[in-house]
Symmetry: C2
């Protein structure tokens, strides 16, 4: 479950983009904002485009925008796409043979924790993040008004 830095990067990028309101995000801009290594970030952005999360436009003033509605991208999907389907549903003891029919001793216990996690990740879309972020902004602004 999020074994890779790459997946973390992807969530960072998509989360960031989802919560701002730019028309277009260039790799250079994202690099400066997020501190992800320039070249690696570019490759990852291309990957995210190939996977259908983003849409790229080349040339001057080019960059990346979302290819789909934010509501359609949930966090579990991002993780699954980048790490392969299994990462979110592996046996905690690492037994490849641990399945419902033939569970390992940890199966039920671990399943409970895992399900909770997967549920939350599947139910959180980028649109939700955007909503949350904007609420936070409003709250901060109101606090500012009250205290000043």
């Amino acid at each position: 479950m999020i074994r890779n830095k790459t997946t973390e990067y992807a969530l960072t990028i998509l989360g960031f983009m989802a919560t701002r309101n730019e028309d277009m995000y260039s790799a250079e801009y994202l690099h400066k904002q997020l501190n992800i290594p320039r070249r690696y970030l570019r490759r990852l952005l291309t990957d995210l485009s190939k996977h259908g999360f983003l849409k790229s436009t080349s040339g001057r003033n080019g960059g990346f925008v979302f290819a789909r509605d934010l509501k359609e991208i949930n966090l579990a999907l991002v993780i699954n796409t980048l790490e392969g389907y299994e990462t979110l549903c592996t046996c905690i003891l690492g037994f490849s043979c641990c399945i419902v029919d033939k569970p390992c001793i940890m199966h039920d216990t671990w399943m409970e924790a895992r399900s909770k996690m997967v549920e939350i990740l599947s139910n959180t879309t980028l649109a939700d993040l955007k909503g949350k972020y904007q609420m936070d902004l409003i709250k901060k602004t109101l606090d500012g008004i009250n205290t000043v």
Copy 2:
């Protein structure tokens, strides 16, 4: 959270040992039972001894036994010991600056899933696994009696 195969191996080994009743477990025996690469397994067993989970005896008839009571070893401890303390409590977006005071947009949501997981892992000791395993055995035996 369980980023490494090594951690998986460790849980497999300790879980296996906890649920059987041998006096002593040699690396060779564990290798045959668990299919973990021979040489790597040995190194890991030595590591687990250094970390105070196991106690080793050299020489003929040597091997490994638990160094502490099974009740004192919970799964979160194993994971923390092998992967470093942070693995179980990292920000899902990978922000090192994401803390309670300055949470990322996913902080609360992710915290909820993570806490559930950590709770379960911390509350499950090797002794619990042993108990579960023996219950399973008894159940299977009874089933056998009933069906035969």
